[in-house]
């Protein structure tokens, strides 16, 4: 970012927004421009400082003066006094936050400070089961605008210009898809919302459907207007009963209020919408399999000889988008593409919702501008690793189709471009943080287990290839790995990727490839040394107490389920290898770091050998292929 002399921080909490903060922003920017100050002073929307009663609130940094600006008419005078004449404009000042409550404000709590809510703008504010609440937050104004003041081409254009890309995984430009959907002539067209959300660790779409079902519905109706389609389906897995219930209630309310059905808003436009519940197969999240499932057939992908926008559901033109994609639409139509582009980067505009889970303190649902770094997400918003003493190891993005990103790359943005270069994918937004107690071979095995299980079985490379890969990984984790396994895994990966029909097979090897790229030596140690340094693979480790570190506190004795640890109080303890079941409970419990994880061979080794192994157990450097990530 360029350097600015001063920052004008405008509160963008909903309190201030409701009172016209964005109008103040416009006025301020044009006033600064008038005086040629726009290159020196930067106007940033920020989190809320809790002066909600006095909004819109503006504060200047570094001056630390707080102003309340009830009307845009005050802006010229304020700019003149504060910036041109360099004196505080007392008429509008309010006391600083120190005089308010002693509870931290949104800007003091990193979890909230770095977020910007667009898709989740109504979260925790409205009753999702009341359409009036949604309307109070400007709901259905986007639809009204689309129906009365825009022609379909204009709607498609605003969506295209916004730079919105599909949030379901592939990041395909939404405007392009809609353009095709509009162009194709047909007696029947469909709009389908993908709410299948099958990635392990992902819960973004569920939360959106639960917290703000009307936003998804409004986005779908607008899509109907834009592509001249009159029938929509929301495909939700039956495992999301609360989402299904709230969506159904919202749909019922819409029919009652005439927002669905015939002649919406008296414009002559008709749109019908229904929910289709899926049984929860991962492959049914794939667009073509999903459409088959709605047709009542077995959910299996079809070859992509033509785009779904040309021939989709029942061979009719179909625009299929993700829940989050649709939830973005009403705001884009209402506020314009420029507004949408004010956050994020050129190629990755706007915000993205992530489900932050795993070994992190603040497990939760977040929405950030796409030019936010992984480090900010993990260490500020997520507040770092949960367990004391554990270190960050990698973050898994994109679920079974994605990959792991290690520490070295935490400074990259969560944009489609940057994440892809790191070997992972943005995917639908699942972000699983792993600490150093995670074995990367087992992690890869977990995902392969998932894809091998979820493969629909149609293509040989996916059905058999993933099973073969899983077998090799299982062998490696059991201590039956052989030289050459890594090469075989890579070979198989290439074949599966290049010969599978759908995205499931084409991306299934990614977790293996990305862990191989960053943690190859963990694979090698598993295969060559029969050593899983994290102690996850039970057959590849020996637990051993370093007597010089053990304080004899007895915590491990109590934690051990198989009475394998002996020793007197305050004297170094010892593990009886024959009783040990390698459950790692002692290692998890020990506060003095005295339990060491040695290779399998240590179980039968003599004292001197063990001491040598323990000495060799310094930090294991990860063998990483360094990639330049430029922006």
């Amino acid at each position: 970012m360029e350097r600015f002399r001063a920052y004008a921080m405008l509160c963008a909490g909903i309190g201030c927004i409701e009172k016209g903060a964005m109008k103040v922003k416009e006025a301020l920017e044009s006033e600064l421009k008038k005086w040629g100050l726009h290159e020196e002073i930067y106007v940033v929307p920020t989190g809320c400082d809790g002066f909600c009663g006095e909004g819109p609130v503006l504060s200047f940094y570094p001056d630390a003066v707080f102003y309340s600006i009830p009307s845009v008419e005050d802006v010229p005078k304020l700019v003149e006094e504060h910036f041109l004449k360099g004196r505080v404009y007392h008429k509008l000042t309010i006391p600083g936050p120190y005089h308010k409550t002693d509870i931290p404000s949104m800007n003091d709590v990193p979890f909230f400070r770095y977020q910007a809510l667009r898709v989740l703008r109504n979260r925790g504010l409205i009753d999702p089961e009341k359409i009036e609440d949604y309307i109070t937050r400007d709901g259905y104004l986007g639809l009204a605008k689309a129906l009365t003041r825009m022609i379909p081409e204009e709607i498609v254009k605003v969506v295209a210009d916004s730079g919105l890309r599909g949030r379901g995984g592939a990041g395909f430009p939404t405007g392009k898809k809609w353009e095709l959907g509009l162009k194709i002539k047909s007696d029947l067209k469909f709009v389908v919302c993908n709410g299948d959300e099958g990635d392990p660790g992902a819960f973004m779409d569920r939360s959106v459907m639960e917290a703000d079902p009307h936003a998804v519905i409004e986005g779908m109706i607008i899509c109907g207007v834009a592509t001249q389609s009159h029938k929509g389906y929301i495909y939700v897995r039956a495992e999301y009963p609360m989402a299904v219930r709230r969506l159904q209630k919202a749909i019922d309310q819409c029919y009652e209020a005439g927002l669905l059905g015939s002649n919406i808003f008296d414009t002559g436009f008709d749109f019908d919408l229904e929910i289709y519940q899926g049984a929860g197969a991962f492959v049914c999240g794939e667009a073509t399999a999903l459409m088959r499932s709605i047709e009542g057939k077995r959910g299996m992908p079809r070859p992509k000889l033509w785009r779904s926008a040309v021939k989709g559901l029942w061979d009719k033109p179909t625009v299929l988008n993700n829940v989050e994609t649709f939830a973005n639409i009403p705001q884009i139509v209402l506020n314009g593409s420029e507004w949408y582009r004010s956050l994020g980067t050129e190629k990755s505009a706007g915000t993205k919702v992530f489900a932050l889970t795993g070994a992190i303190k603040n497990v939760g649902l977040i929405e950030v501008p796409m030019d936010t770094t992984l480090r900010t997400i993990i260490y500020d918003i997520g507040s770092g690793i949960k367990k004391k003493g554990r270190k960050f190891k990698a973050v898994q993005l994109g679920g079974p189709s994605g990959g792991c990103i290690p520490e070295d790359y935490l400074n990259i943005f969560v944009t489609y471009e940057d994440i892809e270069k790191s070997g992972a994918i943005v995917g639908s937004g699942g972000m699983v943080v792993m600490d150093d107690s995670n074995c990367m071979v087992s992690t890869a095995k977990f995902f392969l287990d998932f894809t091998a299980d979820e493969s629909c079985g149609k293509c040989v490379p996916c059905r058999i290839g993933t099973k073969l890969m899983l077998d090799i990984l299982t062998d490696i984790c059991k201590g039956q790995g052989k030289e050459g396994d890594i090469e075989t895994l890579k070979d198989l990966s290439e074949d599966i990727i290049s010969t599978s029909l759908c995205g499931l097979g084409q991306s299934a090897p990614n977790p293996v490839l990305s862990t191989l790229r960053y943690f190859k030596n963990e694979y090698e140690m598993h295969i060559r040394d029969k050593w899983c340094v994290t102690g996850v693979c039970r057959d590849l480790c020996t637990f051993y107490i370093d007597e010089s570190l053990c304080k004899g506190c007895g915590a491990c004795v109590r934690a051990c389920p198989s009475k394998a640890i002996i020793g007197e109080k305050k004297k170094p303890h010892m593990i009886i290898q024959d009783n040990c079941v390698q459950c790692r409970s002692c290692w998890d419990t020990c506060k003095f770091n005295s339990i060491k994880i040695l290779p399998l061979s240590a179980r039968k080794a003599g004292e001197a050998e063990i001491a040598a192994m323990a000495a060799a157990l310094t930090e294991i450097p990860a063998e990483r292929e360094l990639v330049e990530v430029t922006r």
Binding site: A21, C52, M106, F111, D127, E132, A211, E256, G364
Partner: protein, 127 residues
């Protein structure tokens, strides 16, 4: 609800806003119970019942209780957000029945936010 016309949107908005706006002679406080799947799984329904009981026990008419979606911090559920006239909303985390009763007494009835259970005050940024 009868069929909505475009001009009705603004009317519904204003009416709904006026009805639920916090003011001294209307609703004095608003309590949002965060009830996504995560909230409900960690006991939000119980928190809601507790609040409603407290309110009906003393026949309070000027406190508006709203069930809503997840507030984002699934790890700290159950959560509620309390907003009173003249004060920014305060988010309370990791609640149980006792804590809820205490917060109800101190913050809603007494007007004093309970710092020990509070995580943050203010509104989230939406831009």
């Amino acid at each position: 609800m009868s069929k909505i016309k475009i001009l009705d949107l603004q009317k519904i908005k204003e009416k709904n806003k006026a009805e639920f706006e916090l003011k001294k002679d209307g609703y004095r406080a608003r309590v949002v119970v965060h009830m996504g799947t995560c909230g409900v799984a960690s006991g939000a329904t119980n928190i809601l019942t507790t609040l409603l009981n407290e309110i009906s026990n003393i026949r309070l008419k000027d406190v508006n209780v709203i069930p809503s979606g997840c507030a984002g911090l699934c790890a700290y559920e159950p959560m509620i957000t309390i907003e009173t006239v003249d004060q920014p909303p305060v988010k309370y985390v990791d609640l149980n029945e006792e804590k809820t009763k205490e917060v109800f007494k101190e913050h809603i009835m007494g007007g004093k936010p309970v710092k020990k259970y509070a995580l943050v005050s203010g509104n989230e940024a939406t831009y």
